[in-house]
């Protein structure tokens, strides 16, 4: 992805991460795999974009992290949503819904 697209998609990436963590806490690799899964392979998040986002969102207070053991007994850092994060996910979802609806209408118009 080139620079311009990355910026546009940063907000979207945040939303993806929030959505991925909506049900359960996960470590970094798990989050990217989940995003791949729920977008049916459209978004393949590189660690170079994933980690900055994860840490930034932690700064914002939407995520909170803790160290734990992964599936194969290795140490990994797990992230989960905070209440603020859940609120952010909801408002982002609504906003995205409004935008896509507006764009769809605009494209339909002649």
């Amino acid at each position: 992805m080139d620079r311009g697209q990355t910026n546009l998609l940063q907000g979207t990436l945040d939303m993806m991460i929030l959505k991925a963590l909506a049900l359960d806490q996960m470590h970094g690799l798990g989050i990217s795999r989940r995003i791949e899964q729920i977008t049916k392979g459209t978004f393949q998040v590189k660690p170079g974009s994933l980690f900055p986002s994860l840490h930034r969102m932690e700064e914002e207070g939407w995520l909170v992290s803790s160290w734990g053991e992964s599936e194969n007994n290795r140490r990994a850092k797990y992230y989960r949503l905070t209440k603020a994060g859940r609120r952010q996910l909801e408002s982002e979802t609504q906003r995205w819904g409004r935008i896509s609806l507006a764009i769809a209408r605009a494209l339909e118009a002649s």
Binding site: E59, G61, R87
Partner: protein, 881 residues
């Protein structure tokens, strides 16, 4: 919850730990990816490589995260700052008052504490300055007070007390005429033993100090120069070191230049003392002796230890040296050289400023608490609507910190300006010349820390309230019965009462000091200072002595009187309102036992028209005239205090006394006249006994004289006229210390003026702060009671009654404060009395006047809130609830 705050903390203070964690996280990602690939069928080697490729490099990822974090951090910081600034801008009045209050508190306290610290507590830049002492002998046979000089043999004995001192040095004054390029200048200098420089621990910036070989009699003449003299007369020329200069007609080689601000003994030139220990006469006392105590030796212990030396000298030499009977040795620490008066003034000012600081803090606390209580509902509402509590805390903190920061910055500027102002007010000679008065960083930091602490602690109050209280209750809260606000209201009222009490104290003190100053100004000094200019002329001993001195000055007087515009001129070895020689005397026919004291007196040698020039009447007998020449009978004019002291029930005319000299028999002096008292030393000191002798009869003490000139011509021109005449008589004689007598009188009150000025400033500031504080408290309290007032009006109460309620609250606070203040004033009045002259510290008139004005102040402060209360519309107010 407070994740934001902990993140911020972590970013600043735990960078390394955070970095290691990040490293571990990225590596664990790489591991997990590797594991995934192995499960997909790759072999471990390939899997690891593939994972690394996909990762794109551990360091790059870490760098991206770091940038993202910093960016986010800065963003949130800027956001908070902007929010804080906006909140403050919405309430500019509150913000301005809070900022100004903090600025005043920080500025005033920093300025004064810095001045006190650098001028009084630690002005000396010498090594071990707190251990340096002046050693003084007291010979009861000669006089009741310790004298300042020793003989060389005694100095040698003192030097051997290495158990008490690690250095003992001796010195004398050595003032010289510098002849160089045009005009002669009198330079104050000192002789000093070579180890003096070692003791002080100050190294020259050029050249060297004396060697001990140069400190012997008949060694080559060397001199060490001060930085000031070097730049002023020698243009900071580095080649001066090693060259010879002409001082008092003799050549001295300059061996070194001392650093700036080195002014030991107030001198600009230092010569080796070169003590000649072959001089065995123990009674010929010329040198002052100073020493540095060994570490761990207290002043008292040292004095006790030195007593054995004194007793030994008495034992061994008592027969030849009769003054050794009852010989005592006293030590005076360097820091005690600062005039007692100034130290006391500054200490009291420190107290005033501490009060001011408290008042400022109280005000800021009150303001912030009031504002906080008003925002309880706002906080509760925001939390109920889902705002993050930590975010609210952060915003409140930002506001307080912003206030504190702006206030502190202003305070620093104020401190800087104030320190300079104070320094310009301090009269010359009141604090040591070495003192470098500047802002003390420690004090500044303390004041700023205090400002921040106050701001932060009190700014957090609303947030803590919001956390603790039950949301539901807070929202439902009836503003009159608010449980949280009861305790904070109590605190606010206590602070307000305290403020009023302190204001009373400071204002009363200021009034007392100002009145005392006015009393001093109007005090009768005993002589007429108008139209008189004084200057000093010193005759170098190698060219003038004995009769030459008398002849020179007699001729000088004659010539100056011939000048146009000069009405009269006179001479005196010491002027009034300054230092003067003081010696023990023996009164004929009256032993110390009869008198009940060892008689002593101030004395000066003067010309015959000294008294008429200063308009000092001779009450009995006659003034000096031509009869009183060098070979005639020694005579003296005494002052009234001396007459009353030693000859209380008889006329002193014709009575005799003599000076107590240790090494020779001094002649009997006959009293021929009694003059009215003149103030000596300071205006507020009690009258001292003094006598005057004709200068013709005392050439020894008349080497350096003050010339007094009375003229109605502008005073600026007179010194040049005199200089012109002087050059005709001796081209190498400078005049120095030119001063109008009026200025001398004014300057003698310098310390009192300083105290009065500063206390007045503080009193004004305290008054202002109290006004603001009371306004804040009443205003807030009234706004809380608006509903109560509305109900009362709805129930038929008179609007005037509402106004009376508001004023009543203000008056009650003020009365409580005033009562507290009066009690405190009665206790503390004692402390102030040392500063006062003719004024009692806690007199009823001042107290009641100040109390009345403070109560009016409270009423004035509540005018605006009362008006607001009066205009409350019951409908609107009740609906708000």
């Amino acid at each position: 919850m407070l994740s934001r705050m902990t993140n911020f903390w972590r970013n600043i203070f735990a960078k390394e730990k955070t970095d290691r964690e990040l490293d571990a996280e990225v590596r664990s990602y790489s591991d997990l990816l590797t594991q995934e690939k192995i499960r997909e069928g790759m072999n471990p080697q390939e899997a690891r490589r593939a994972a690394k490729l996909q990762l794109g490099g551990v360091e790059q990822v870490k760098e991206e995260v770091r940038q993202a974090r910093t960016g986010a951090c800065l963003d949130s910081l800027l956001q908070d700052l902007r929010f804080g600034a906006r909140t403050l801008r919405k309430n500019p009045g509150f913000a301005a008052v809070a900022v100004l209050t903090i600025a005043l508190g920080v500025g005033a306290s920093t300025a004064l504490f810095s001045v006190v610290k650098s001028a009084l507590l630690d002005p000396w830049p010498y090594q071990g300055a707190d251990r340096i002492v002046t050693i003084r002998p007291q010979f009861p046979k000669i006089g009741a007070r310790p004298s300042g000089v020793w003989s060389l043999q005694e100095f040698k004995d003192l030097r051997e007390r290495t158990d008490v001192f690690d250095f003992v040095i001796a010195g004398t004054g050595h003032t010289v005429n510098l002849q160089r390029g045009g005009y002669p200048e009198r330079i104050i200098g000192a002789n000093m033993t070579a180890d003096g420089f070692s003791m002080l621990g100050v190294r020259p910036i050029k050249g060297r100090v004396f060697l001990s070989s140069e400190d012997q009699p008949r060694s080559p003449r060397v001199v060490v120069m001060s930085y000031g003299l070097w730049t002023r007369r020698f243009g900071a020329d580095p080649t001066v070191v090693g060259r010879a200069i002409r001082l008092d007609d003799q050549l001295y080689t300059v061996v070194g230049i001392m650093p700036r601000d080195f002014v030991w003994w107030g001198s600009e030139l230092w010569f080796p003392l070169a003590p000649d220990f072959s001089q065995l006469n123990r009674s010929s006392r010329m040198v002052a002796v100073q020493g540095r105590l060994r570490r761990g030796v207290t002043l008292q212990a040292a004095e006790a230890a030195l007593q054995t030396s004194a007793s030994q000298m008495e034992l061994r030499f008592g027969a030849q040296v009769p003054e050794y009977a009852g010989f005592k040795i006293h030590l005076l620490a360097l820091r005690d050289v600062v005039l007692r008066n100034v130290r006391e003034s500054l200490m009291i000012l420190m107290g005033a400023v501490a009060f001011l600081l408290f008042v400022a803090c109280a005000n800021v606390t009150n303001l912030l608490l009031a504002r906080a209580a008003g925002r309880n509902k706002e906080m509760a509402t925001r939390i109920a609507l889902g705002a993050d509590r930590s975010r609210i805390v952060r915003q409140l903190l930002t506001e307080s910190v912003l206030l504190a920061a702006i206030g502190a910055a202003l305070g620093c500027a104020l401190a800087y300006v104030s320190v300079n102002a104070i320094v310009s007010l301090i009269p010359f000679g009141f604090i040591p010349a070495e003192a470098h008065v500047r802002i003390s960083p420690g004090v500044l930091l303390f004041a700023i820390a205090l400002a921040f602490a106050t701001g932060i602690l009190v700014g957090l109050a609303p947030a803590l309230n919001a956390f603790r209280s039950n949301l539901h209750d807070t929202l439902k809260q009836d503003s009159v019965r608010a449980s949280a606000s009861r305790s904070s209201r109590y605190v606010r009222h206590v602070l307000a009462v305290g403020e009023v009490a302190l204001a009373l104290l400071v204002v009363c003190s200021a009034i007392a000091v100002v009145r005392s100053f006015h009393n001093l100004e109007r005090e009768d000094i005993g002589f007429r200072s108008a139209d008189v200019v004084t200057m000093r002329i010193g005759l170098p001993e190698n060219r003038y002595s004995g009769d030459n001195v008398t002849r020179f000055f007699t001729e000088l007087l004659q010539r100056t009187r011939e000048l146009p515009g000069i009405q009269d001129s006179a001479l005196a070895s010491d002027l009034p309102l300054g230092s003067i020689l003081s010696s023990g005397i023996t009164v004929e026919g009256k032993s110390p036992e009869t008198l009940g004291r060892i008689p002593d007196a101030d004395h000066a040698s003067v010309s015959s028209n000294y008294f008429s020039l200063l308009s000092v009447p001779i009450m009995q007998g006659r003034s000096f005239d031509d009869r009183d020449s060098a070979n005639a009978m020694p005579v003296a004019i005494i002052n009234q205090t001396m007459a009353n002291l030693y000859w209380p029930s008889e006329s002193p005319i014709g009575k005799r006394f003599r000076l107590n000299r240790a090494d020779s028999e001094s002649p009997w002096i006959t009293v021929v006249g009694v003059a009215r008292d003149m103030k000596q030393i300071t205006i507020d000191s009690a009258s001292r006994q003094a006598f005057f002798v004709p200068f013709a009869q005392d050439p020894v003490d008349s080497q350096n004289m003050s010339l007094l000139v009375r003229s109605t011509n502008p005073q600026a021109a007179i010194p040049n006229l005199i200089r012109a005449k002087l050059v005709q008589m001796d081209s190498e004689l400078p005049i120095y210390e030119v001063e109008s007598l009026d200025t001398r009188v004014k300057n003698s009150l310098g310390g009192e003026k300083l105290a009065a000025t500063m206390l007045s400033c503080f009193a004004a500031i305290c008054f202002l702060l109290t006004l603001v504080g009371l306004f804040g408290v009443i205003s807030y309290s009234t706004s809380r009671r608006l509903n109560e007032f509305a109900i009362r009006i709805a129930l038929g109460a008179d609007r005037a009654a509402i106004v009376k309620l508001v004023f009543g609250e203000a008056a009650r606070l003020a009365l409580a404060g005033v009562a507290l203040g009066c009690c405190a004033a009665l206790f503390l009045g004692r402390l102030l009395s040392t500063l006062l002259y003719g004024v009692r510290a806690s007199d009823w008139f001042t107290l009641s006047a100040t109390a009345a004005s403070l109560i009016s102040l409270a009423i004035a402060a509540s005018l605006i809130p009362a008006l607001r209360a009066m205009r409350v519309d019951p409908n609107v107010a009740l609906r708000h609830e």
